[in-house]
């Protein structure tokens, strides 16, 4: 297995994003597996930013610790990143800022007058394409693939733009080749060309929503969820649907409830602050039993926090955030494929159980480009849940009872427009008919009915994914995008220990039995999660998990987990168990 870490750094607003995207896209097309990671700030221009593309001949789901090729558009880029370059790696830098390596560095510095070349080409914006061309040389990747993609990308902007950019690529390539020393330790293994997808979790969510028949999306912009709205604003209209940018998140969630009540699959997407504002609305959906799908693409909190940094710290709020203990379902995808399936599943669950379903995504999942084999059509299917038909309504002898108590807790739903299906949907406690009522006995029945839906759901499908040997020295329990670095660490750890991992795929209703069973077969348990409180561990404990050898690895500083540090935690978790003579 082989891989290379390529990174570009420079000032925010200078096109770093799209430069990284070009390298990632071309490498993906060539058959490599990609994981792209950007570090940026909550500002538009200025400030240092970098974009790291991990290029491998095997699937990758995490950022890597080392870099082999660093493209520097400012000296700051060199200063900040040089320590992560592997011996034998190279720095490609714009001569415009007279780049220098730290004294004594054995790295190769390839200086190219990028800005100058771009000016000569007649378009200063082509500077980054010079850098891309140089990168192609260093990575030994075929130039034709770059030229082809860049031509495609700029096609809409006219022939001149295309030729300028292709020329920039070529000049960068030539300049780098001319300087490239022999001993450069940058080697990408050969791979067969492939036809895989390269996308972010947010794109997967948007596509999944479309696949699942979502036709209305209402939202208020917020990093890192805005993408989803921006994707859907182009995807929905051709299908007759609509994206509504609302005045706030409260309007967004209540619009979704209106649309759901009327029978259309509708969703919203937000992040922490907006999610907090939706708590009251989600309670209404729970109580009036209206389907609603809410994506919370989490970022570092509390409050405004660090809007451009990853965290997984909204899960307690997702589960317990509404007053009065309003029922919800919370799913937690960890990869784009899972995001695709989960959003599809969320629409089915919302309509099957008539309640709000939260898809707790996170910034890393939502924003970083990843190679994905496919998003198979068949992985999502549409099932509209318990609807009463017009014929059934007309055949009823008594008046239709929307909130009839049933064994599963689910009562068939009519839709506005259906004759004889009228009812009152309300957040006030109500009789089976929908009429408001404070009768204590009815109250218990209706509360129990609503809670019953969660039990029915728990019993009908698993909420975890288990990987590894049945009995383990260490069981790693995790969720969301953290599963990426965890899985890499687990694979590495296999060499020296029996390690398994359990990904919690449904955070609520919590799959307690599955977690207890899995933990019961492990000598030690390690929770790995990206929040300061250990929210997943709290949930597990609340659900009855009290493993005598429990360790925790938490990150809440906005940086990404690296597989290496998880590996260390796994190995010391193993020691914990063996030291106490359990393994």
């Amino acid at each position: 297995m082989g891989e290379v870490g390529w990174k570009i750094g420079g000032d925010q607003g200078e096109g770093i994003d799209s430069t990284g995207d070009v390298v990632a896209t071309v490498a993906n097309r060539l058959g490599y597996h990609i994981y792209g990671y950007k570090s940026f700030s909550s500002r538009i221009k200025g400030g240092h930013t970098h974009y790291k593309v991990r290029i491998a001949d095997h699937p990758v789901r995490a950022a890597s610790a080392t870099t082999q090729v660093l493209v520097a558009l400012t000296q700051e880029t060199i200063d900040k990143n040089v320590q992560e370059l592997s011996p034998g790696g190279a720095v490609v830098a714009d001569l415009a800022f007279s780049p220098s390596l730290p004294a004594g560095s054995e790295l190769t510095l390839i200086g190219i007058p990028m800005a100058q070349i771009a000016r000569q080409i007649g378009n200063p914006l082509t500077r980054n394409m010079v850098a891309v061309g140089a990168s192609a040389a260093l990575l030994h990747l075929p130039m034709e693939a770059f030229s082809a993609y860049v031509s495609e990308k700029f096609e809409r902007k006219g022939a001149e733009m295309v030729s300028q950019n292709v020329r920039a690529l070529g000049e960068g390539h030539a300049a780098a080749l001319a300087q490239m020393p022999d001993g450069l330790a940058v080697r990408l293994p050969e791979v067969a060309p492939a036809h895989r997808l390269l996308l972010t979790g947010n794109q997967a969510v948007a596509l999944g929503a479309v696949r699942a028949g979502c036709r209305i999306m209402a939202a208020y912009p917020i990093t890192p969820a805005t993408d989803i709205m921006e994707q859907l604003v182009t995807l929905l209209p051709p299908l007759g649907g609509v994206v509504c940018q609302m005045e706030d998140e409260i309007a967004a969630i209540t619009l979704v409830i209106g649309a759901g009540y009327a029978g259309v699959r509708a969703m919203t997407a937000t992040s922490g602050p907006g999610f907090s504002l939706m708590q009251e609305g989600m309670g209404l959906a729970a109580s009036a039993e209206v389907p609603a799908v809410i994506v919370d693409c989490q970022r570092a909190g509390p409050s405004t926090g660090m809007p451009t940094k990853n965290e997984q710290s909204d899960i307690m709020a997702a589960i317990f955030g509404g007053h009065g203990g309003a029922a919800r379902v919370v799913l937690a995808p960890g990869t784009p494929e899972q995001a695709y399936r989960d959003i599809g599943h969320a629409f089915n669950l919302a309509e099957a159980y008539h309640l709000p379903v939260i898809v707790a995504s996170d910034l890393s999942l939502g924003e970083w480009l990843q190679t994905v084999d496919d998003l198979p059509y068949a992985d999502v299917s549409i099932s509209r849940g318990s609807l009463i038909s017009q014929a059934e309504l007309l055949a009823l002898t008594d008046a239709y009872s929307r909130y009839q108590v049933t064994a599963s807790g689910v009562s068939p739903r009519s839709l506005p427009g259906q004759a004889k299906g009228q009812y009152l949907a309300t957040g006030v406690e109500h009789l089976p008919s929908g009429k408001v009522s404070e009768d204590p006995k009815n109250r218990r029945l209706e509360m129990d009915k609503r809670e019953q839906k969660l039990s029915t759901l728990s019993q009908s499908e698993p909420g975890t994914e288990y990987l590894g040997p049945e009995r383990s020295d260490v069981l790693v329990i995790t969720f969301g995008s953290t599963v990426g670095p965890v899985d890499e660490a687990v694979a590495l750890a296999q060499e020296s220990a029996a390690v398994a991992r359990l990904q919690i795929r449904r955070l609520w209703p919590f799959p307690a039995a599955e977690v207890l069973a899995a933990a019961g077969r492990a000598a030690a348990v390690l929770f790995v999660e990206q929040n300061g409180q250990g929210q997943l561990a709290q949930l597990a404990e609340m659900s009855g998990l009290h493993h005598p050898h429990t360790a925790h690895l938490r990150r809440y500083d906005g940086t990404l987990f690296l597989p290496s540090e998880i590996l260390t935690a796994i190995l010391s978790g193993r020691q914990l168990a063996t030291a106490k003579g359990v393994s």
Binding site: N28, V210, I257, Y261, A262
Partner: protein, 291 residues
């Protein structure tokens, strides 16, 4: 099916939750009459009601009803309408619901022009929570939360709607049934957002803005034959001059397109009637860009 809609079709057997004499009875009666006059089938209408005494009106109308959280009728109504544009969608609520906690949504609904009718039952007080200041309470009105008299300039709903770009703006009085029925019918017939503020006295908590007081001060635009309803600036001037003690249709603009008629690509059929499934070919088409 072809049978005419009668009162029996549109009322429920719920007993009243309002105080005897409450202005809301008049609103209910006028609404029922309008629905019968327009022959709107109960299952083709969705009423979105807010929280308050006013919001209980949904309990008495046998249509599809959704009783939401306080102040959020309008985005919910927008969701209903976009989901199924064949439905008549009516949002109703009180002055607190609409002009305090719901103010932002009100302004934005006006400027969006979704085909929804918004009927407010304005009693210048919080009824259901027992008599606190409302945004429309008169300056100086002594209420529970302002025992020395309210010190805030009242919200002027008609001016707000006009400034926000609403395409149908009117005001009724729950005691003037004939005019109110006409206004409700006109509002329901307008294609776009219609805002009808209805003065609906609270006999229990509002001892200032009583029926008698209103009868004294309200003037109907009917009595001003020269008044034209197609001039937003004139409507604004009239609202300001009269301090909104005026009833009738202030303004309408029938040329403005409704939101749903402007969304690019938006289905002219109810979305509820669309097939949701893509073909595998369509799906592949969507993924093609990402490979």
């Amino acid at each position: 099916m072809a049978e005419p809609i009668t009162l029996a079709d549109i009322k429920t057997d719920e007993k009243s939750w309002w105080c005897p004499g409450c202005g809301d009875f008049g609103v209910l009666a006028a609404l029922q009459k309008s629905v019968i006059d327009l022959q709107i089938a109960p299952h083709e209408m969705v009423m979105v009601a807010g929280i308050g005494c006013s919001g209980k009106i949904g309990n008495y109308i046998n249509s599809y009803n959704i009783h939401v959280v306080h102040g959020r009728t309008l985005p919910t109504a927008m969701g209903v309408k976009l989901a199924n544009r064949d439905l008549k969608v009516l949002a109703v609520g009180g002055d607190g619901d609409g002009f305090a906690i719901g103010m932002g949504h009100f302004i934005h609904a006006c400027r969006r022009n979704v085909d929804v009718t918004y009927l407010t039952m304005d009693n210048h007080i919080y009824g259901l929570t027992k008599g606190q200041n409302s945004p429309t309470s008169d300056r100086g009105a002594k209420v529970k939360t302002a025992p020395e008299g309210s010190i805030e300039a009242p919200v002027r709903p008609l001016q707000m709607a006009l400034a926000a770009g609403a395409t149908w703006v009117g005001q009724g009085f729950s005691s003037n049934q004939a005019e109110l029925v006409e206004l409700i019918k006109s509002a329901l017939g307008h294609r776009g957002f219609s805002f009808l503020n209805v003065i609906s006295p609270c006999v229990t908590y509002n001892k200032v803005n009583t029926y008698a007081w209103y009868k004294e001060v309200l003037r109907s635009l009917k009595d001003d034959p020269g008044y034209r309803t197609d001039d937003r600036q004139a409507a604004m001037a009239r609202a300001m001059e009269t301090d909104e003690l005026v009833t009738g249709l202030l303004f309408r603009d029938d040329s403005a397109l409704a939101y749903e008629d402007q969304v690019a690509g938006f289905s002219t059929q109810p979305l509820t009637e669309q097939s949701l499934d893509l073909t595998p070919g369509q799906w592949e088409g969507l993924l093609a860009d990402l490979r």
